[in-house]
């Protein structure tokens, strides 16, 4: 039986495994390299370096890893006062999502020193999660899953149950869709079957969760079973596989997107149900009773969520 302690240690090991590459990368002349703002790269050297070499822009070649032919233009390079760190300033904002390859000629007598700069992968994954959760919240900024959203946001209890069940099913079905997409649809060139395969997998997941839950934990089934039927009528659950296929996400990114989509739906439901519970006490004009007022409230939430656009944590 899997206890909470077990789960904790597994999560810890996974996090360490993800972090290890960050420490391994540092080697040789270059100790550390990071993006600073969206126009600068900061490089830290192991020892003191020749100022004339470092500050000469002509010694650098910088490009994004996927396009080695497009050289990025640098406006200046400044060596810090300690003589060990340099700031490379670029003419145009960098696309910090991509890995950048920087090579310096003639540094400390060596013909060429090459290193790569990339955002911490963990930060990037977290960015996907935050984006799906808040910035591109599926309910309030992408307008998906509204039928189920308005149907189950009357009470907090229902909202929580629906949100949790939905998150679990989304994660399961997105993972399965990822395997199907990468190991069957892409190799056999069956991309046009996307919709049929994804909707089939989703129904299968819902049915499987239904059957397993009924046998394993009847108590849980009694409280959450009703929501399982509604999950399949929600467009978010089919939108997640379509988005991951469109963006060629890997497994970790897929998991983050699915978690963000489910969590975002849970968040939206919980917010909406809190308002709905209070609205029952309010004196609403008869013409606005029921759905119309729910739509107006959802519109106000949508405007509030617009405020998250441009949020960047890493």
């Amino acid at each position: 039986m899997m206890t909470l302690g077990n789960i904790k240690s597994i999560v810890f090991i996974a996090l360490v495994a993800l972090l290890v590459p960050i420490f391994v990368q540092a080697e040789g002349l270059i100790v550390d390299q990071t993006f600073h703002g969206d126009k600068e790269i900061v490089v830290t050297f192991a020892g003191s370096v020749d100022k004339a070499v470092v500050e000469n822009v002509k010694n650098y070649t910088v490009f994004e890893e996927p396009d080695p032919d497009i050289r990025l233009k640098m406006s200046s390079a400044i060596l810090g006062v300690d003589g060990k760190s340099a700031t490379l300033v670029f003419a145009e904002p960098l696309n910090t999502i991509e890995t950048h390859v920087v090579s310096i000629e003639g540094l400390n007598g060596e013909e060429k020193t090459v290193f790569t700069v990339s955002k911490s992968y963990l930060g990037y994954l977290f960015g996907i999660l935050i984006s799906a959760l808040l910035i591109n919240n599926f309910v309030f900024t992408k307008y998906l899953g509204l039928c189920v959203f308005f149907g189950t946001s009357k009470k907090k209890e229902t909202a929580k149950g629906m949100g949790v069940v939905f998150t679990l099913v989304t994660v399961a079905s997105a993972t399965m869709s990822w395997f199907f997409y990468n190991y069957i649809l892409v190799p056999f060139d069956l991309n046009f079957l996307q919709i049929v395969v994804f909707i089939g997998l989703t129904s299968l997941t819902v049915q499987a969760v239904d059957t397993v839950l009924r046998k394993v934990n009847p108590v849980l089934f009694n409280s959450f079973g009703v929501f399982l039927v509604l999950v399949i009528a929600n467009c978010v659950i089919i939108a997640v596989p379509l988005i991951l296929a469109n963006n060629h996400y890997n497994l970790f990114e897929t998991l983050m997107l699915a978690l963000g989509a489910g969590g975002g739906f849970l968040l939206a439901l919980y917010l909406m149900s809190s308002v709905s519970e209070r609205m029952q006490l309010a004196d609403i004009p008869p013409t606005f009773k029921g759905l119309p007022i729910s739509f107006i409230v959802a519109g106000q939430f949508a405007m509030a969520f617009l405020g998250f656009s441009g949020l960047q944590l890493f």
Partner: protein, 205 residues
């Protein structure tokens, strides 16, 4: 067709008394998401009409061969097939409009309205009746989308079908994505108001 329902009645029911958007409050996602112009409404309406009519007819033809226990998966796969067809056709012949509608064409597969019509109508009635019912429901959806799109386009950018009719932009707010919620909410309230007013004038309460 020994039935008391004529084709016209089936169509008008879909457009008026059982309008999918305003009366049944189903398939709200596109009604809020991409109803910014009349053209979007017409195009997505055509796509839904196509899927609804063809799935209704398909299910109606095979209704005696489908075992009741696997009917829902059958409906889903039938809809998914027709959605794939319209998705590929739109992507090939109308790439610009397709790009605007984005993921919503593919999401027709999850529209509650289509499954509901298959479950409630097409699996019991004759092929021709199912055809007219599907046509009515599809037209009802299209009318709803066009009406919302009309108001948002007129009030938001002062245009109709891309032609400048007002010469100024009354309320830019309506073209913003979140205004979809407000427009749909206000229109529902308006229909409620008509209903209440009508009942009162008849002295019904």
């Amino acid at each position: 067709m020994a039935n008391d329902k004529s084709s016209m009645q089936l169509i008008s029911r879909g457009i008026l008394s059982e309008n999918p958007i305003f009366k049944l409050a189903l398939s709200m996602c596109p009604a809020v998401g991409i109803s910014t112009t009349v053209m979007n409404g017409v195009l997505l309406g055509i796509a839904v009409l196509f899927v609804q009519v063809f799935s209704s007819v398909t299910i109606s033809i095979f209704k005696n061969m489908i075992h009741p226990r696997i009917r829902i998966p059958t409906y889903t796969l039938t809809i998914a097939t027709w959605v794939t067809v319209i998705d590929l056709v739109l992507a090939a012949y109308m790439p610009e409009a397709y790009a605007k509608m984005g993921i919503f064409v593919k999401l027709i597969v999850a529209f509650a309205i289509i499954t509901m019509r298959l479950e409630m109508f097409a699996c019991k009635e004759s092929v021709s009746d199912s055809f007219w019912d599907g046509l009515g429901m599809g037209l009802g959806f299209m009318v709803g989308m066009v009406v919302i799109g009309f108001f948002r386009e007129l009030l938001g950018s002062g245009m109709i079908l891309g032609h400048d009719v007002l010469g100024f932009k009354p309320l830019l707010f309506f073209i913003l994505p979140s205004a979809g919620f407000f427009v749909v909410g206000l229109m529902m309230a308006f229909f409620n108001w008509i209903e209440i007013y009508y009942k009162r004038s008849k002295g019904l309460k």
